[in-house]
Amino acid sequence: MKEFKREDGRKVDELRPVVIKVGVIEQADGSALVSMGKTTAIAAVYGPRSMHPKHKQVSDRAVLQTFYLMAPFSTNERVRPGPSRRSQEISKVTREALEPAVFLDEFPKTGIDVFIDIIQADAGTRTAGINAASVALADAGIPMRDLVAAVAAGRIEEHFVLDLGGKEEEVTKCDIPVAYMPRKKQITLLQMDGDLSPEETKEVIKTAIKGCEILYEKQKQALREKWVR
């Protein structure tokens, strides 16, 4: 078989260059920056603090709120400021990707707010955002069952391809973002756009899980660098 070349020369199961920095926002209780190739997400955690809006307060647990936002200058065509249908859906699935990891019942009646700003977008912004948010929650000292690592995978020609970047999103037969808690072997985010047999879909999910395991080690390493002396 002819060697398969990706647009940036990566192997099929290779992540884009990953950068994780912990504690990048001085004002926040916890924060992190995650770059995956040319995609960069910054997450800041505020809380547990008093719940706003107050009517959303819950008596026996904390309420996790997530806000995904793309900076207007983050893409080729300017992103209109303010929430879009896309950003509202991503905020929802991001929250649901993080909730399984956080011990929310430790902080009744409070709110934990996670703000995710995408300052540069080149495919995989929701997964980069989840990676940053998970590290930021840990940085804020919020008790967690595990870190959540996330990456997308796809299928280009006959190959299962990890961490779709740039133009790969346009040629893949499917785009499957996955978020994963490696210690618990639990999937916390799963979405798909595409057209693929169930067997192949499973293989793409497994490809993404392998990527999550690599990212998980990088997340832990970044947290250790800040917190362990």
Partner: protein, 260 residues
């Protein structure tokens, strides 16, 4: 309420349900098409007491610059306050946006509509297809009901006529069907007490904390996935959800065929 929740979870741990259904058994499904005379296509779907109307409207507009030779598809959803004490008026909330986007993905990604056939003049004029989903009564499992109503409305829609010289659309004459290729059907699998079930009623939805919507098309391929809820799933559970959705999706597709 808490007692009822515990009762439902207790039953679920023995793979039983409050209304005696089997794990993969739907409530009664009825599909009626052509229920709105003014719409180009429409369908009312009932699943048990859940009731949804989808309407198709069409117009002529400009194609998107990145798809100059294709039609435009827009899918929206309204959770009208008439349908539930939990729905509030105002712009679509998170759940309505998610529902519309999940239904949209299934129809778009499956290539259900032959979008190239909707183009009138490349870069300049194309048909725009609007599918609007209106929830009439919320008694659980809205995504499956909305997805089924949307595809039923599209499959039975008749296109209005476009007068190229005058640049006007005539809604009086409708005869041509939309160029449809596939019938994507979303099936939501939900987890209660570590077991997987289909078609939750409202009481069961209150107990469940994680679900997976799997949209399949005629050839058995998966075209869209969406995990929902605050808990997680194992890979084994996801594989099982694929099987359940494929089987039920094929059954519902047969039911759909009787209406087109």
């Amino acid at each position: 309420m808490i007692i009822q929740k515990q009762f439902i979870s207790g039953l679920a741990s023995r793979k039983m349900r409050i209304d005696k259904r089997g794990q993969d058994e739907f409530r009664d499904i009825t599909i009626e098409t052509g229920v709105i005379a003014k719409a180009e296509g429409s369908a009312r779907v009932k699943i048990g007491k859940t009731e949804v109307i989808a309407g198709v409207k069409m117009g002529v507009g400009t194609p998107f610059p990145d798809r100059p030779d294709e039609g435009v598809l827009m899918i929206g959803a309204e959770f009208s306050p008439i349908a539930s004490p939990d729905f509030e008026k105002g712009p679509p909330a998170e759940d309505a946006i998610e529902l519309a986007r999940v239904v949209d993905r299934g129809i778009r990604e499956s290539g259900a509509i032959d979008m190239k056939k909707l183009c009138i003049k490349e870069k300049e004029k194309t048909w725009m297809v609007f599918v609007d989903i209106h929830i009439l009564n919320h008694a659980g499992n809205l995504i499956d009901a909305a997805g089924l109503a949307s595809i039923a409305a599209l499959l039975t829609a008749k296109m209005p006529e476009y007068d190229e010289e005058a640049g006007t659309v005539s809604y009086e004459k409708k005869h041509k069907k939309l160029p449809m290729k596939f019938k994507p059907v979303p099936i939501t699998v939900f987890k209660m007490s570590d077991s997987l079930f289909l078609d939750p009623n409202l009481e069961e939805e209150d107990v469940t904390s994680v679900s997976l919507t799997v949209t399949t098309k005629d050839d058995g391929n998966i075209v869209a996935l969406q995990k929902g809820g605050s808990q997680s799933l194992s890979l084994e559970e996801i594989e099982k959800a694929f099987e359940l959705s494929l089987k039920k999706g094929a059954e519902i597709r047969k039911l759909l065929e009787k209406h087109i």
